[in-house]
């Protein structure tokens, strides 16, 4: 172990391949119609496939999309 100690990466935004974007902490997301949505949990999954029934939050719908419709 180095003398400088150990620092772990802990990003506020995590893009999940084929799935949502995770957001840590409190945020307000404005959707395409200008409506604000506040996060309520410690980590939130924001939909990137545009097909969630809970938009702007991910509801797992990306998992049933054909590969070409999933976000990269």
């Amino acid at each position: 172990m180095s003398a400088a100690g150990t620092h772990f990466e802990h990003p506020d935004v995590v893009v999940c391949p084929g799935g949502p974007m995770l957001l840590r902490g409190k945020h307000t997301i404005e959707d395409a119609d200008g409506v604000p949505h506040e996060t309520t949990r410690p980590v939130t999954a924001v939909c990137r496939c545009d097909r969630s029934a809970s938009f702007p939050w991910c509801d797992g719908t990306h998992r049933v999309l054909p590969a070409k419709l999933r976000p990269t």
């Binding site: 772990f8 999940c16 949990r41 410690p42 797992g60």
Partner: protein
């Protein structure tokens, strides 16, 4: 919390001994190897329960009684062998990269689909009674894994568990949400209330979780189970919520499932990409146990779903 009714000679011996307050359990030990099916599963469930909230009739010091631990180990050994016999590790797959596709490729009967469109009210109430055994201690078995992990995996697991426990707000604690849903639906939210009704498959689901949680050796299986559990929850929870609305169930119960649509869309990502990924970086040799835990989660749920659909005379609906 009260001791259940026995389901065979082993639980007869065990419950009698626990009630009598003696600390000589050799007769129980003698009965253990011959016990079968439900009898053994109920005995193990009772012994595990001593490590959760316990029973009013059982002295607290019996939690660590060496003879009872011996009985527990005999029964766990049997359960673990049975679960491992059913499992074959997938070849050439990476858990973190491939587990979602592996789960999506799994074809099993789906209770959520049945509840969504066809179930009647009585079937759904029956499902709640049987599921209450787990939902009323949701996330608890996994809490035992925390001190067994390295720094990254530990922080990651706590990030998920914090949400399961309501992020500090008891009103949002998941097993409390289920209890509120039960109460509003006219059911008794106590986890011994329907114990006498649960079939072998439900006892096995709960016993596997407790065993994975209680043994440091099985931390990989515990976290693999967690990943599969979270990754089979969001869309089924949506179907459950819609089915409950169709049947006019109270908002509290709908809320429990609605909460799990969004929470588990987060948790499945955390479980795979942060928790299991961190575990594998620290302990790569645990990858096979991650698969074992994930497989066991899916397999035990399939068995439970099949039992219920057969009981209701419903053709299997594949997820």
């Amino acid at each position: 919390m009260h001791l259940p009714h026995p389901r065979g000679p082993l639980t007869e011996e065990l419950l009698g001994a626990l009630r009598s307050g003696i600390d000589d359990f050799y007769a129980v030990l003698a009965a253990a190897p011959t016990a079968t099916g439900e009898d053994a599963a109920l005995a193990l469930w009772v012994l595990h329960e001593l490590h959760y909230r316990g029973f009013g009739e059982v002295p607290e010091q019996l939690e660590w009684d060496p003879q009872l631990i011996r009985v527990r180990r005999v029964l766990e050994h049997d359960l673990e062998n049975r679960l491992r016999d059913r499992f074959t590790a997938p070849e050439g797959l990476s858990f973190v990269e491939d587990v979602f596709d592996w789960i999506d490729g799994h074809e099993g009967p789906s209770l959520a689909r049945h509840v969504h469109r066809d179930a009647d009210r009585e079937q759904v109430l029956e499902l709640f009674r049987l599921r209450s055994l787990y939902h009323l201690k949701e996330a608890d078995p996994t809490a035992w894994v925390v001190p067994r992990l390295g720094v990254r995996a530990k922080a990651a697991l706590m990030e998920l568990q914090y949400d399961e426990y309501g992020a500090g707000d008891p009103n949002r604690l998941h097993h409390h949400l289920f209890a509120e849903g039960m109460r509003a639906s006219g059911l008794e939210p106590a986890y011994d209330a329907y114990l006498h009704l649960v079939p072998l498959e439900v006892l096995e689901q709960n016993n596997a979780l407790s065993m994975f949680g209680l043994h440091r050796r099985l931390r990989g299986a515990a976290l693999g189970h967690l990943a599969a559990f979270e990754a089979t929850s969001s869309l089924p929870s949506r179907r459950m919520a819609q089915g409950l609305e169709r049947l006019g169930f109270p908002a509290e119960m709908v809320d429990y499932y609605a909460e799990h649509v969004e929470a588990d869309a987060v948790h499945e990502q955390l479980a795979v990409r942060t928790i299991c990924a961190a575990l594998l970086e620290e302990e790569p040799e645990l990858e096979e146990d991650l698969w074992f835990g994930a497989f066991t989660c899916l397999d035990l749920e399939d068995r439970f779903a099949r039992t219920m659909l057969a009981r209701w005379g419903v053709e299997e609906e594949v997820a």
